[in-house]
Amino acid sequence: MIALASLTVLSPFIAAVVGMLLGLRLSRLLETRGVPGHRVLRNGPAVIAVVASALATLFALIVAVTLWLDPGPREGTLTLIPTGTLPIAVGLQVDGLAAVVGLMVCCVALAVQVYSIAYLAEDPRYSSYAAFVSLFTSAMLLVVFAGDLLLLYVGWEVMGVCSYFLIGHHWEDRANSRAAVKAFLVTRTGDVGFLFGIFVLGVGAGTFQIDEVLRRVGDLPDTTVLAATLLLLAGVAGKSAQFPLHTWLPDAMAGPTPISALIHAATMVAAGIYVVARLYPAFLAAPTALAVLGVMAAISMLGAALAALAQSDLKRVLAYSTISQLAYMAAGLAVGTRSGAVFHLLTHGAFKALLFLAAGCVIYVTGSNLLRDYGGLREAMPITFWSMTIGFAALVGLPPVSGFFSKDAIIEAALHAESGIPGPVATIVYLTLLVTVAVTAAYATRAWLMTFFGTARTAFTPREAPRLMSWPVGILAVPTAILGFFGLGASELRPHLGSAALSLLLAGAGGYGAYAVWRRDPALDPARVLGPVRTTFERGFHVDDVYDRVVVAPVRALARAVVGVDDRVIDRAVESSAGVTRAFGGLLRRPQNGNPQTYLTGLLAGMAVIVLAVVIFV
């Protein structure tokens, strides 16, 4: 079992190493051997990556099935690394949560790998791309299966750097490079908090092993748990792109579209929510932290949804929707429904991967990211259209697709929050959830209408994307559609009539509003009715500008100041010590003025003193 889990983690890792070193060589080998079949088969790095991903998926599936047949957590430790204090356990742990999320990660990764073959067919750096995607997958799987907090942190950070490389894959463009740096730095800022949270929790509990930590959480002082969970939340906010550390995610759209799918659906952003779910007992022991999480989620949810409403770039719409949907999960966790949140994590993984990959198809065909360049793609791209429709339906939460069930579970849970968070916070979260449903419907409808309906606004050849791209999209549509029904098995995940009706009503209102505006003139952007606030929404409430002023600029100024101080104060002090020495030497040189009389005076005076000393003391 644990061996299987470790194979799941290791196979993408090995693929990453092998693909990085030997991928191109394999391509050349396949080329010269003249392997029959599609040219895709001659793409060495892709072959390695896909095979590894498929293997990982297989292993994850076996793990999940085994665990389904015989529930109960399992763990295994390979070795303990001594550190001088608490040892680090190199070990994995598998339970239901891990198995399910792991399977989801593998599936999405596999879809992304396959999809990328076509999407990045002509890319000269495919080997590094595929290798980093594999490494990314492996890191996420490590987070999922890790049995030790510090091991989890390793995967957590490696994901950060993978996101850096992948977002900056097209580094020729400085904007991509900036986005990549931003993603890494913002998440790393959160990660520092996360690491400290691990310290607090681990040192408090006397071990870094997760199950042991959770078992001992009850015995810890409240302040320790609170401090630990709040610090962990910093990391969660960074990775899961929650306010106030969300700013990297929209910019991360600079990466290739499959990467967006991977980051948004399966890895990275999911990691934050997953970790909270994983350490949920600790969070339950600190309701204040959950309240903070709830407030964070409420702000992110609504703010991101409003921002999505005004975006002109399809991928940015989806990016903000991701922030918003992650906030749903965070809200779910805050109000006490772990299963609801994880359920939404899974359905979101499916439908967001679907949406991104489908958006990739659209971008591939139209050659543009901008909504205002699209239009009328419904006929030409049936697979994409229908898949994306299902995806948007899931995003909005329309029955019977998956998003409906998971959202409903969260909204219902928010109504009677059981996690111990203060009442007002729960109320705010609940209301925000409802409002966001409407706004979500509005922006989803807007994007959907502007992409597929009306007439084409720019010149491009409407056609379906290559099969390697459209098929993963089509296949992902299946879980998107049906995943929700799996929730029927658990009572707390079953839809509730009241909240379902309410949210449907709100969704309908939002959707209809967008439709009504769009119908007036299908050629124009419905976001125009937002009027003056549109710019504010589009720029994400200027949070970036604020950070520029408050963080980036002062740090830069400080850096310059430090260099100045180094040159002018510290180094000057060192160098002027030479001058001081010389001046001191000059002082001693004063008697050495070349006048022999002075010398002789000194000599005789010294002699007199010596003789005196001899006379007195001897």
């Binding site: 001088g84 950070e157 490696v158 580094w171 400290f196 310290f199 100041a561 060192v574």
Partner: protein, 492 residues
């Protein structure tokens, strides 16, 4: 005995260069340092990993009249450093085969100097007598001074003066501290002194001794604000000089702190630890900020050393086994990674003719993809990515600061930890800024940049491999250091 041979071989190699016929032999240095490396590896193999005591000892009378002994030995603390030193020197010679240092002086002289340097470095790590330690500590200075002053860049003379005067000043203070301990404790033997844990020295004496020894070693480490010789020396030194300076010489300072200052004067350490920690944290933040505004590649890497050594010093300041482990791990990791970074900086300078970030322009990933990829790897490793060597030292140092030794103010150290964490973010910021600046973007038109040569690969691949291996399997080093560190700090 094997240690004696390890010291004798490079020394003999250097002396052999006096024979005129051997001077033309280009392989001489490589062969000699290769033999030394093999001896170091043999020492590592002969080493009993389960035993926390000194091993492979050589103990001869040296100057019996004043109680000096020629006492050598390795334990888990010094063994990794010994291997690192031998490895880096060997790689430097490999690199020199194809990329001789620019400058008119004879290559044989450089070979001889580097071999003498190696003797000093290895000797420092295996010496077990206070005065012997000091002698080896000093042996290093002159060759490095000459290397900088002869083969350096345009400002080499001033940099070399600064280097030698500054470090000599530190050495003077160190010597006073060592003698203070030696005279008052009545023995110069480090093993015996360490076993006493400061017994027989009054508290005031220990505080003074730690201050003196610490100051002397802090110059070498270098600790903020005693660091200003470092950027100049690094910027002006030739590639191999920078590599050895960053890779090994800086470690002598922190190694000395662990080996001498902590066990010899535990009460002094307890007294000074908060201050040491404060300066370490200032160094971390300060180094990172200084890097953010640097425009010269080598200077930037030099300042990054200040930051990284800050983490090492912070680990030492915690006076906990985990902190000291972190320091030793950080030493090794920094030696590997920064050694690699300086190799790369040298290669870039050789190819582009400049180390200025603005003049380098962008697009190195397009122009010299492999070089840029290795540079990216080195930077990512240096900014402390988990899974690579740089991470464990930093992480464990912070963990140590969260739980400092008994008798230290916990709140203060937790504050240090927070600032150290901020420093880690800033570290990432400046490395990524540098990477974005020179590897990303579209390349300017210009001459084709040469690819990575076979000798460069030969010099770099071991460093890359070790960085990954140690990063993925930190147990390799932590297993070695944990037991002796515990013994050193007086635990069971």
């Amino acid at each position: 005995m094997i240690l004696l041979a390890m010291l004798a071989v490079p020394l003999a190699g250097a002396l052999l260069l006096l024979v005129p016929g051997l001077r033309q032999n280009r392989l001489h240095g490589t062969v000699v340092s290769g033999i030394t490396l093999i001896l170091a590896l043999a020492a590592a193999l002969a080493f009993d990993h389960g035993n926390p005591r000194m091993q492979l000892e050589v103990d001869r009378a040296w100057a019996p009249a004043i109680g000096l002994r020629f006492h050598l030995g390795v334990d888990g603390i010094s063994l990794p450093l010994v291997v690192l030193t031998a490895l880096l020197t060997f790689l430097c010679f490999l690199y020199l085969l194809r990329h001789p240092a620019a400058g008119g002086a004879s290559p044989a002289l450089l070979t001889a100097l580097l071999l003498v340097l190696e003797v000093g470095m290895l000797g420092t790590f295996v010496a077990l007598d206070l005065v012997l330690f000091f002698v080896f500590f000093e042996v290093v200075l002159i060759p490095m001074y000459v290397v900088i002053a002869v083969w350096g860049g345009p400002g080499r003379r001033a940099a070399a003066y600064k280097f030698i005067l500054y470090t000599l000043l530190g050495s003077g203070v160190l010597l006073v501290g060592l003698l203070l301990v030696g005279v008052n404790a009545g023995t110069l033997d480090m093993v015996e002194l360490a076993a006493r844990h400061g017994e027989g020295l009054s508290r005031g004496m220990q505080i003074t001794a730690f201050l003196l020894i610490g100051l002397g070693l802090a110059v070498k480490a270098p600790m903020w604000p005693l660091h200003t010789w470092l950027p100049d020396a690094h910027t002006e030194a030739p590639t191999v000089g920078s590599v050895l300076l960053a890779g090994v010489l800086l470690k002598m300072g922190t190694y000395g702190l662990v080996r001498l200052a902590l066990p010899l004067a535990p009460e002094g350490a307890e007294f000074w630890a908060p201050w040491l920690g404060l300066l370490a944290v200032i160094g971390i933040i300060y180094g990172a900020l200084a890097c953010l505004a640097q425009s010269d590649l080598k200077r930037m890497i030099a300042f990054s050393s200040v930051g990284h050594m800050g983490f090492v010093l912070l680990g030492i300041a915690t006076l906990t086994p985990v902190g000291v482990n972190a320091a030793l791990f950080g030493n090794i990791a920094h030696g590997l990674i920064t050694g690699l970074l300086f190799f790369l900086a040298g290669a870039i300078k050789e190819r582009y003719g400049t180390g200025d970030l603005d003049e380098l322009g962008g697009g190195m990933l397009a122009k010299a993809p492999r070089l840029a990829a290795i540079l990216t790897f080195a930077c990512v490793a240096s900014l402390g990515l988990p899974g690579l060597a740089g991470f464990w030292g930093e992480m464990l140092a912070l963990l140590g600061a969260y739980q400092p030794g008994a008798g230290l103010p916990r709140e203060t150290f937790v504050t240090f930890m927070v600032f150290g964490g901020l420093g880690a973010v800033l570290t990432a910021a400046y490395f990524l800024r540098m990477l974005a600046k020179i590897t990303h973007g579209t390349p300017a038109d210009g001459p084709v940049v040469a690819g990575v040569t076979r000798h460069e690969y030969a010099a770099w691949v071991p460093l890359i491999t070790l960085t990954i291996v140690i990063g993925l399997w930190p147990k390799l080093i932590l297993d070695l250091t944990s037991a002796p560190v515990r013994a050193l700090l007086g635990g069971g």
